[in-house]
């Protein structure tokens, strides 16, 4: 009987741990910055694992929607395994365009990098309800040059200055060519008040 109870406790704990591992954890940084620690289970997803092993870039687009204000923010991660140097080339772009690049030499170090808080948004609110979408895209999210040029020449949205070019970049990178491998969605309510 005692053994059964112990097993039950272990199973419940394991289930709770697994559940916790499948959701991002959130921290609040100075300035009302909300950062997410993405769950390692994303990297274990069969489709994601397959793409990570393809030698091509895997792009992770994280979009955070503040439900009350309807404000969108986000971040982008890119991972590519260099077949010849046997290193992971990674890139992180956070909500304020802060960019970080690294060469990572082991899978363990990659998972450690993955678990580093990812700054998604800044808010002055005391409570925020967020919907987080994580789209995993094959290939790099950098836009295809000839498509951009073609749209620009055809009088589309890309004829203006740098702002428009960025818009076209994002539009093409996310809607024309990039069909997600998989998508993760989470909802979370955060209190940003000091305890």
């Amino acid at each position: 009987m005692v053994t059964r109870a112990a097993w039950l406790i272990v199973l419940i704990a394991a289930a709770a741990f697994a559940h916790a591992q499948s959701r991002p954890a959130f921290t609040v940084q100075p300035g009302g910055v909300v950062a997410a620690t993405l769950p390692p289970s994303v990297l274990q997803d069969p489709g994601v694992r397959k793409q990570l092993g393809s030698g091509l870039t895997t792009t992770f687009l994280v979009v955070a929607r503040q439900r009350e204000a309807g404000i969108l923010s986000g971040a982008r991660l890119e991972i590519r395994y260099d077949l010849w140097d046997e290193v992971w080339l990674v890139r992180k772009i956070e909500f304020d365009r802060r960019e970080e690049r690294q060469r990572i030499t082991s899978r363990e170090a990659l998972e450690k990098w993955w678990r580093a808080p990812l700054r998604l948004l800044a808010t002055g609110r005391e409570r925020v309800s967020l919907q987080i979408d994580l789209n995993v895209l094959p290939f790099s999210a950098a836009e295809e040059e000839d498509a951009r040029q073609w749209i620009s020449k055809s009088g589309g949205v890309g004829t203006g200055g740098a702002g428009n070019a960025g818009f076209v970049e994002a539009l093409i990178g996310t809607t024309i060519s990039a069909r997600p491998i998989t998508t993760f969605k989470w909802n979370v309510a955060l209190s940003l008040k000091e305890p």
Partner: protein
């Protein structure tokens, strides 16, 4: 839609200026291309249709376009790209892992539109370039060839061409002279048409890739219907016959993700068309006294026209997709007739929007799709002169359909109403 645009704006905010760096814009020297999981499809055909070549360097964007190009092929359900080490440092093997369709294939557009039926526009509303129904078998022969036999119904819905059903046999040669171009030769025998059966008639189609996303398709389609005699009450025995020759050159820019029911990407096309039609038979015309009378007719018509269309598909989620598009065209026809020559113009303009929802999740969509689609369109068509009356139609149409794509083919059944 709003959400997609908002997401795009947010992503623009986190985008950084493009730079040729090794993480975000890598290029790979491809020393060899290897196709895996190919059992019926020739690997050489897959490589040819990807528009990629061994011995060249490609960016990820170019590889992605190659993957999308393969995903649009009717004989593949999916094509996944990955890299492996080549023989020397910096060289790579591009591995294309494919999932094939069955050699038996069908394409059936079984949507019924009630009410005003005069809304279609050339190739715009059918599953695949005016093909309403196809039933056939495809064998790959040799390294770069494929033979097909089948039944098909062609209805491009132009004012100045005739629809027909036919039995056809054909051969496609891919990677012609190492150029990535293909040529298809069809021999077809029309049957069961309004114009009667027909004689064996040729069709030649040549596709020339201008870039990974752009293709020029030249099409010569000759259809010779049987000559027959028919009794008319007012005219007695009349010999009827019809032959049409259609020559078109279609330029297309295509970044869509699937061949028949895309959910993302853009497709733009411009198609100049020339049609020669010789007809013998009877024509009904309204006389000066406003009565309609039949006359024996011998007509030699020549039409010149141009069609253009642009469609865009957005994926809102793994199951939901929206689309919008415009199409338009103009043609002029000169008819030399035994009862007096005539000339007339035909024009059309269509604007449409659609929504589709897949019953399958993304993982299952690798094996096909089961999808509901809804479409709303408004069309204006005019033709300066017609047999019975002046036609100038402004039509609205709403339709819903279920589309099933499998390794055997694509089926669309549904219902619509136009007014």
């Amino acid at each position: 839609m709003n959400r997609t645009i908002l997401i795009a704006v947010i992503l623009a905010a986190i985008a950084v200026p493009l730079a040729a760096d090794e993480v975000s814009s890598p290029s790979f020297f491809i020393e060899r291309i290897e196709v895996r999981n190919a059992t019926r499809v020739s690997p050489d055909v897959v490589i040819s249709e990807s528009a990629l070549r061994a011995g060249r360097e490609y960016s990820e964007a170019e590889l992605r376009d190659g993957a999308n190009r393969l995903s649009r092929l009717p004989f593949l359900l999916s094509a996944d790209f990955s890299l492996e080490r080549g023989t020397e440092r910096g060289r790579h093997v591009l591995v294309i892992t494919i999932s094939e369709t069955k050699p038996f294939f069908f394409l059936l557009d079984g949507r019924v539109i009630l009410g005003e039926s005069y809304i279609g526009s050339p190739n715009d509303d059918s599953l695949a370039n005016g093909q309403e129904a196809v039933l056939g078998f495809r064998w790959f022969v040799g390294r770069r060839g494929a033979i097909h036999v089948g039944l098909f119904g062609a209805d491009d819905d132009r004012d100045y061409t005739a629809s027909y059903s036919a039995f056809g046999v054909g051969y496609t040669r891919y990677d012609l002279f190492g150029t990535r171009a293909f040529v298809t030769l069809n021999l077809k025998k029309p049957f069961g048409n309004a114009n009667g059966g027909g004689e064996l008639s040729p069709q030649i189609v040549a596709g020339i890739p201008l870039s990974i996303n752009q293709t020029l398709t030249l099409d010569y389609d000759e259809t010779r219907f049987d000559t027959r005699e028919r009794e008319y009450f007012e005219l007695g025995t009349v010999e009827e016959g019809f032959t049409q020759r259609i020559l078109s050159a279609r330029w297309s820019y295509n970044t869509t993700n699937r061949p028949f029911v895309p959910t993302s990407g853009t497709i733009v096309s411009v198609t100049p068309v020339a049609v020669w039609a010789d007809r013998k038979g009877v024509i009904y015309e309204r006389g000066a006294d406003d009565r309609i009378r039949p006359s024996r007719l011998t007509s030699d018509a020549k039409s010149l026209g141009i069609d253009a269309s642009a469609k865009r598909y957005w994926e809102l989620s793994e199951r939901d997709s929206v689309s919008a598009g415009v199409a338009g065209g103009w043609a002029t026809t000169d008819e030399r007739r035994n009862i007096g020559d005539i000339s007339y113009d035909s024009t059309f303009a269509v604007i449409h929007a659609g929504y589709s929802h897949s019953l399958w999740d993304r993982a299952r969509q690798k094996d096909g799709d089961s999808r509901f689609e809804f479409d709303v369109r408004a069309a204006r068509r005019s033709r300066e002169r017609s047999v019975f009356l002046e036609r100038n139609n402004d039509v609205l149409q709403i339709s819903g359909a279920w589309v099933r794509r499998s390794s055997y083919g694509t089926l669309r059944i549904g219902l619509g109403y136009a007014w």
